[in-house]
Amino acid sequence: MHETHPTPADASLLNMLPLALLVLLTLAYLSAAYRQRSATGGWSGWRIAAFMTGSLLLGLALAPPVMEWAHHDLRIHMVQHLLIGMLAPLGWVLSAPVTLLLRTLSPGAARHVIVVLQSRTVRLVSHPVSALVLNIGGMYLLYLTPLYAATLQNAALHHWMHLHFLVAGYLFCWSILAGPDAAPHTPSMHFRLGVLFVSMATHAILGKLMYGYLWPRGTGHGVEEIQFAAQLMYYGGDLAEVLLAIVLFTMWLRTPPSRRMH
């Protein structure tokens, strides 16, 4: 045995990194929200609650014991995926972090952020269709190819997968809701519902394909474990996407009829 394995201390340090970043981001949001208390209207407690819910769900999914467990059990991985890629991003999007950032920064710094938000790259990835491709396309690529097996062997790839889930999930929720932060694209309600429809359908189809043809392969997971995980993807995906649809329609209902987009 001449392979070099990371020492347990290194591994645990690397595993703590996402959690440490999460704590930093949460503290940054809370202190920015606290500084808004004197501004007119302050900062909504609901938004703070939404951010904290997102952070707690992420913290749960990224906790080292859960990470360790998910490494061996596809069912736990699927719950983790649901939390990181679908439920936590919805909470964070609803907390309007970009608006809070722009209000907190000095006018000069805020202008730089706006330049980044209006850059071609951000505009490209934040369109509902590209967010859909990044989100669901990424999932097809991960589970229906040997990529998933590779993420179990390579720590960097493993962390990259979780980051991709989070970013793609955030972009998808933001592009579908086109709010509460001003979104780079605001296509019609019908268009966004159409994209959400495609997302729900392709998600359900992926769950069935994994169940029926036993993907991901090459991981040593048993038949029953894969089938249970596939059903978790199917019903868990339903839950998260119905929740997104409910939020979308609630925002629509609260818009006066004369100002609604069709």
Binding site: A201, I205, K208, G212, V242, L253, P257
Partner: protein, 154 residues
């Protein structure tokens, strides 16, 4: 004394169609809960299903979920604006339930063969019961529809 006409009159067509969405979604939900989860008669995946069946099943599943959410919120919006025509909405609800049940019984089970009602039994009686239930729901819907038209003329 003449009562002033209401500022806006209800939207019968819109009430009907929004309720059709809810009815179809509710029937799909009943199907999912009773036959897939409680009785476990339906199979989650049937290897006899052609690929087109699996793809269309995903599309249908997404449509059901969105229909129930969209229909519910559209009805809620009508009600809040006092534009909901309740008798038309009930007709739409039953037409939606019956329509979905018949579609599921004929297209999903028989044409696309997504799954059967139950496995290891003679299907004829199950298929007949399923589709007759659908026709009964549709008949209630038609009766409510005619009642709503009559009420509107009075």
């Amino acid at each position: 004394m003449v009562t002033p006409p209401p500022a806006t009159s209800p939207y019968p067509r819109r009430s009907l169609w929004c309720a059709v969405l809810v009815g179809a979604g509710v029937m799909a939900g009943i199907d999912e809960i009773v036959f897939h989860q409680i009785l476990q008669w339906h199979h989650f995946f049937d290897h006899a299903t052609p690929t087109v069946g699996i793809l269309s099943d995903g599309l249908l599943h997404a449509a059901e979920l969105l229909a129930i959410v969209a229909g519910f919120f559209l009805l809620l919006d009508l009600a809040r604006r006092q534009l909901l025509a309740l008798s038309w909405a009930w007709a739409g609800f039953f037409l939606g339930m019956g329509g979905f049940q018949l579609f599921d019984g004929i297209v999903s089970h028989k044409l696309l063969r997504i799954h059967q009602i139950r496995y290891g039994v003679d299907l004829l009686i199950y298929d007949l019961t399923w589709n007759l239930t659908a026709l009964a729901l549709l008949a209630i819907g038609v009766w409510l529809y005619r009642r709503a038209s009559r009420l509107e003329q009075d």
